[in-house]
Amino acid sequence: MNSAIATQAHSGAQLGAPVYELSNVSKTYARNQVVALDDVSLTLRKSSFSSVIGSSGCGKSTLLKIMAGLIPPTSGRVVLQDRPVTGPRRDIGMMFQHATLFPWRTAVENIVLPIEIRDGRAAAKKALEKAHELLDIVGLKGFENVYPNELSGGMAQRASICRMLITEPAVLLLDEPFSALDELSRDMMNMELQRICREQHATAFLVTHSIQEAVILSDHIYVMKPRPGRLAEIVEVDLPRPRTLDMMTTPKFGAIVDYIRGLLDKGEDM
């Protein structure tokens, strides 16, 4: 492996302070005694990008819900910025497969919605200026007062990135954010996401079905296996940053993708 590249990747990924820590987290659904998550420990460091990948039923959506504070773990510790996560928090930003912009609100009104919910209308009004800045960052300048049904799928997801960023969250939880887009837009949005995360020094955690997407974006990839849902391996991606789409054709990229696919296939057999 190229040691120079590896060091560079490490300097970005390894040296950051821990932001989000999960230790020995398990989740058992009481009703049918299904172990959805078994003893998962992971640490997200400042400004790192991590992904979780696995076949359906591997517990990754349970993991994400626990990290978002939507459901409590059965056992284990979930600590964000030195405080245990006991419910939804403003320092957790989340993005879903669908943009879920509300059609009766303009783009900026959608973006300040989290502020409006938490701090009221007056605070939301003050946040409008910041919403304009964020729209500029994601390349939607001039679309401030446009209603969502005039936005394309990619543009709507850009706006939902702004909505996620408006509360200045410490961690970004991304639940297959671009999987509803066509492949071309998806690649482009992934590069945009990388750029925005770098500019904001964001700590991001992505759930995805696409190995390529995980590899091109991540510093670390958590490979999960089902029954019971658990972490099988942490794969480090030491491709240099910033990543480009061209890297997807390099042998190194292909090797990492093949390696992860191998891990996942073994999971299927079990």
Binding site: I92, M94, F96, T100, P103, W104, R118
Partner: protein, 286 residues
């Protein structure tokens, strides 16, 4: 026609011809098509009466009806007794609709938002909704008398249910993503209801209001038929008992205008309030 190449397969040529056939009908403006149907209808009506196929007591000629409409119109415009009757019916419709909106919306939120309401209240509402509601008219008269109260009650009784159902359905219209988003934002139940579920459900709520608007008219007139009073329904009943069929026809037509106006009012309000929703038949926004 641009498809004139000789090497075109036969199928394609036929397709093109077929498409042209349809587009000919499509190309007729709706207003022209509607006028055509109206003329055919009035024409056959006139034929049926002037050829003596139907007795004039059963069916007046279109001309007689028109003459009577002019007579009734004059009476209405000059503030005659018919205007008084119309005014009474309008009051019944207005109060009935207002009451139905209030009750329907309140019950709809109760049923759509709370597990208790859905489990324990909804079955009763469905049961009552299946009853022939006009059959309650004599009861309302017995309880509330021959004044407008009994008609308001019947009108509201009929119109409430579609509004309940529309509101409850509307509150369930929000998708899983939106609910999850509101949860992650730490929204309270009230915030979720007001800022997300209600606006999302407005199209369904307005569908309920439109059905209710039709029902409220039917309720008010049925109430007048069965409970007396001095409204427009009473005028129709008297005219019918005197076998004055042209009068019955013209009164019904004026009444339809009132119903239409109410429906248009609701539709217009919907367009203003739910400005983002492009109405499509049998489809919901994704």
């Amino acid at each position: 026609m641009s498809v004139t190449q000789t090497d075109q397969p036969r199928d394609t040529a036929q397709d093109t011809v077929w498409v042209q056939d349809v587009s000919f009908i499509d190309s007729i403006p709706r207003s022209v098509a509607m006028t055509f149907v109206l003329l055919v209808f009035i024409g056959s009506w006139q034929m049926a009466t002037s050829l003596g196929l139907v007795s004039p007591i059963i069916l007046p000629t279109p001309l007689e009806t028109l003459q009577d409409m002019i007579f009734v119109g004059k009476n209405l415009l000059t503030g005659g007794y018919m205007l008084e009757a119309l005014w009474i019916t309008l009051k019944e419709v207005f109060y009935g609709f207002a009451l139905a909106i209030f009750l329907g919306f309140t019950l709809g939120v109760l049923v759509g938002e709370t597990a208790f309401g859905e489990k324990a209240v909804m079955p009763y509402l469905v049961a009552i909704d299946t009853m022939p509601k006009v059959a309650f008219a004599p009861l309302f008269v017995a309880w509330l008398g021959f004044g407008i109260e009994s008609k308001v009650a019947l009108a509201a009784f009929i119109a409430t249910f579609p509004i309940v159902v529309g509101t409850a359905a509307g509150l369930h219209a929000a998708d899983e993503n939106a609910r999850m988003l509101f949860k992650t934002m730490g929204a309270s139940r009230m915030q979720t209801l007001i800022k997300m579920k209600l606006p999302t459900g407005l199209p369904q709520i307005f569908t309920g209001l439109k059905i209710g608007a039709v029902g409220v008219m039917a309720g008010a007139i049925t109430g007048e038929f069965l409970g007396g009073g001095k409204g427009f329904g009473e005028l129709i009943r008297i005219a019918a008992s005197q076998l004055n069929t042209p009068r019955v026809f013209s009164l019904i037509l004026y009444l339809s205008l009132v119903g239409l106006a109410l429906y248009v009012l609701v539709t217009w309000t919907q367009r203003k309030v739910v400005f983002w929703h492009k109405e499509r038949v049998g489809a919901h926004d994704g």
